[in-house]
């Protein structure tokens, strides 16, 4: 079968905007894996494709919204979560998913992230964490490890990175999970779980960046990086995210947080009913 035929017959093909292929991502990049897991999740959940909205910011992974055949919006850099907040509050029937990068969500967009988590807006945020700004050619960002070489840390990185899972938990997310691009089945399961859960959910996927970050830091090929993931990652469900710092020797993965808390939308609707009922009583 030719490549295009293959694609048409793939069981996930109907979820893709096939006319937008090929995608822009480098060989070995984890973004395709994340996209694949996401499509598998919506396939298994059998969600109404007319009621799901994918929002992304700017960056390599930011292009993902243009590839998925649902309502989608590619916002400005950092603003995906704020945009998604408006969508979800304006139409609570929609399932709103943000898929974006470590730089987009946690540097320029960090403020929106913590506040959406605090409000417990019922949106799902999935981050492809490749430890750098891939799109602009490999500058350091808020998740770049200490000492790493990037194009703007030519003497090594002297900034301490965020532990994203810990940040999300502290800000109030009701569901927090971390996986690497090696953990495809578990990542898919987490996406399914998040989609079924009410409230602000956060899933981090540690991603190889073979052409840029991994190359600069002499981490080998994409396969070598996957081998490293296998070597150092340990599944620790329920582990305290504060203790899940990512280091060269250890990447703790798993579901760290899974709690219940009323979402912003629910509280808003309850308040609205209360206010409107009171008005009606006063009028009659």
């Amino acid at each position: 079968m030719s490549e295009s035929n293959l694609m048409m017959h793939h069981y996930l093909a109907k979820y893709l905007r096939q006319e937008r292929m090929p995608h822009i991502w480098c060989e070995g990049c984890g973004n395709g894996i994340l996209l694949n897991c996401f499509l598998q999740a919506i396939n298994e959940l059998n969600v109404d494709l007319n009621k799901i909205v994918v929002v992304s910011g700017i960056g390599c992974i930011g292009r993902v919204s243009g590839y998925i055949n649902v309502d989608s919006f590619h916002t400005t850099h950092g603003r995906a979560i704020a945009f998604a907040t408006g969508v979800k509050l304006a139409n609570p029937e929609l399932e709103v998913v943000v898929i974006s990068g470590d730089g987009d969500l946690f540097a320029i967009g960090g403020n929106h992230f913590i506040h959406a988590a605090r409000r417990n807006v019922d949106i799902k945020v999935i981050c492809a964490n490749n430890f750098n700004y891939g799109m602009t050619g490999g500058q350091y960002g808020p998740t770049t490890p200490l000492d790493a070489w990037t194009t703007t840390t030519p003497y090594g990185n002297i900034e301490h990175p965020f532990n994203l899972a810990h940040l999300a938990a502290a800000a109030g997310a009701v569901y927090v999970a971390r996986w690497t691009s090696l953990h495809v089945r578990r990542l898919k399961a987490s996406i399914i779980k998040a989609l079924q859960k009410e409230g602000f959910s956060f899933i981090e996927m540690i991603s190889p960046c073979p052409e840029i970050f991994d190359r600069y830091n002499k981490m080998g090929t994409a396969v070598d990086v996957m081998k490293w993931f296998r070597l150092v990652s340990q599944v620790r469900h329920g582990c305290d995210p504060a203790k899940a710092e990512i280091t060269e020797n250890e990447i703790l993965v798993g579901e760290f947080v899974d709690i219940e808390k009323p979402s912003y939308g629910r509280l808003l609707r309850e308040m609205t009913s209360r206010v409107q009922d009171k008005l009606k009583r006063e009028e009659s």
């Binding site: 408006g86 969508v87 403020n111």
Partner: protein
Amino acid sequence: MVDESRAVLTGTHFMSGDLACAEGALAAGCQFFGGYPITPATEISERMSRRLVEVGGVFVQMEDEIGSIAAVIGASYAGKKAMTATSGPGFSLMQENIGLAVMTETPLVIVNIMRGGPSTGQPTMPGQQDVMQARWGSHGDYEIIALAPSSVQEMFNLTIECFNLAETYRVPVILLADEIIGHMWERVKIPPAEEINVVSRKKPKTPTAEYQPFKPDKDLVPPMACFGEGYRFHATGLTHDEKGAPETVSAEVQTELVKRLADKIRKNAEKIVKAQRVMLEDADVAVIAYGIPSRAALSAVREARKKGIKAGLLRLVTIWPFPQELVSDVAKQVKAIVVPEMNYGQLVREVERAAKTTPVILLSKLGEEPHRPSEIIEAMRRAVK
């Protein structure tokens, strides 16, 4: 639950410009407000936080103005009429996403109750210092619509007009008011709901599979599908073709898109532009004003007539797109034009361009005090001497 029966407060009220603006928004069908408090626009947020809940809409106080406008764009794409309100510092923060709204053809309303700048400036004092920022604040080539109210009644009426224009042309529209109009209390008449002209975005008639989100009709405006309606479309701030697919290198697509986005306003400018002509028929000196100075200008013109000066007023309601033709018509007829502005000379530059060889005199005011009629009369007297 949406309850439109409470949206229009029909009757005669005594209220401030900010409150009238909020009521105008509700009367226009606004169902979403995302904002961040800032003097002198805070009262709009406060009113909306109470009233939107009554009508079953959504009020959310975002973490900053960047988030506010982003949420408003999202709400508009989710099918709701949406707005935000701010002042200079917040308006500055919104600029990048105003460009996103232009690029993604998002109907929405931004209210800017102008105070004194630059920077934090004079938060409680009036200004008209964001006139050029409203026009050119975001990067790239684009046209924008901005209206300047000069009374509390107009805060109500023009807010509705802003929504109607936003929905008609799929653009962000700016209500550019000043602190005095925002905080001034006056009588406002709110008509019955059925007498208010409310326009909503046109919807696609094509089958969902054939829908192209950025394919315009003859009027250059594409029908707008919203999320959840089954069209499954993509929108992006990147240059895109009619299907919404990014086109990041093609000069042809870039040219076509940027021109259309500007032309849908340029070519409809005559329909959009509103201005009031007062005693201009035989005038040989004119005042061109907008917002708070136009009130002093009106008294000045009336007073000047009594003193034998043939004065007239062109009050601009629409400041962007700039009413080029109206101003050049006035310029052809008069010996001089006086432009009172609460800034150090902004819209006067456009007046000068339109006036060609007719002398244009700027009356600049910065800070607390608006223009006095006597100052405007004096300027006119000197101009025609």
